[in-house]
Symmetry: C2
Subunit: 129 residues, 2 copies
DNA sequence: CACTAAGTGAGAAAGATTCTCATATTGGGA
DNA sequence: TCCCAATATGAGAATCTTTCTCACTTAGTG
């Protein structure tokens, strides 16, 4: 593994929640100037391949990513306020399976993402109100 | 409503399944040359606003859209082979709700999309095998 | 008919991601 | 340790989708 990938991985582990490629690049070059944005994109592609990170939405056209503790199949609960992300088990509900069956559709993949406010941001919102 | 919007809506109704803005533009100008791509994008934005269409994925970086019969909250079952789309009811499964509750997260929005093969494409795949 | 708000077309612009290419590094095997 | 093929890197160009600008035309209301 190259030195750059190692630094990018470290920076990625330090990200608090959802982040874009540019967010991560900014953090990386604070510690190690000179690393290029293209290298960050390349590292991100590898991480996504391995399941170390996943797409959890988008922000103004940029892909939002987040670190995954689990590398097996799971989904995400994303705070739209602070970007914190929690991995969740999330088998398809019965209604979905029944609809698919009725249509004769063979489901090979599904995407589920939940958005809202995490406990902390929810408390803060209540306090402000 | 402008003449252009009417033509774009007609063309949209004739789309067989999932389509991109350019797919639709191509169809529109077959019937009515001169209508600009920007106008198609503007019409699509309005349709999405009204619930007449919805995003159902992406194809090589372009947003995939599909017509909705229902304008209320629902989700989609998309054939990755032919692009056919079926609307489905799809309340969150218990597992998802329990995960959110345990995390103290207030869920305000969720996205669910199922991908796979429709009945027709499935039959064709079996025949080929 | 007159007026205003909204829509239009063409192209420029914006922005994210990928590609190119010359150079540099890596890690394994001799 | 030295060599080499494979892979990674950095800088910027290129690509490509979507949005914006602006001068001009409609739609719709009264
Ligand atoms: Mn995860
Ligand atoms: Mn629908
Ligand atoms: Zn939060
Ligand atoms: Zn199909």
């Amino acid at each position: 593994m190259s030195a750059q990938r190692a630094r990018i991985a470290e920076a990625m582990l330090g990200m608090p929640g959802a982040f874009t490629a540019e967010d991560l690049h900014r953090r990386v070059i604070e510690v190690t100037p000179g690393i290029g944005l293209a290298t960050v994109y390349r590292a991100l592609a590898a991480m996504q391949e391995s399941g170390a990170i996943a797409t959890v939405g988008d922000r103004h056209g940029s892909t939002l990513l987040a670190r995954c503790e689990r590398h097996d199949h799971h989904h995400h609960l994303v705070c739209t306020e602070c970007g914190s992300v929690v991995g969740i088990d999330c088998p398809l509900g019965d209604a979905a399976l029944i609809s698919a069956e009725r249509a004769g559709h063979l489901v090979t993949r599904h995407e589920i993402t939940l958005y809202g406010l995490c406990a902390i941001c929810r408390a803060r919102a209540d306090g402000d109100a």
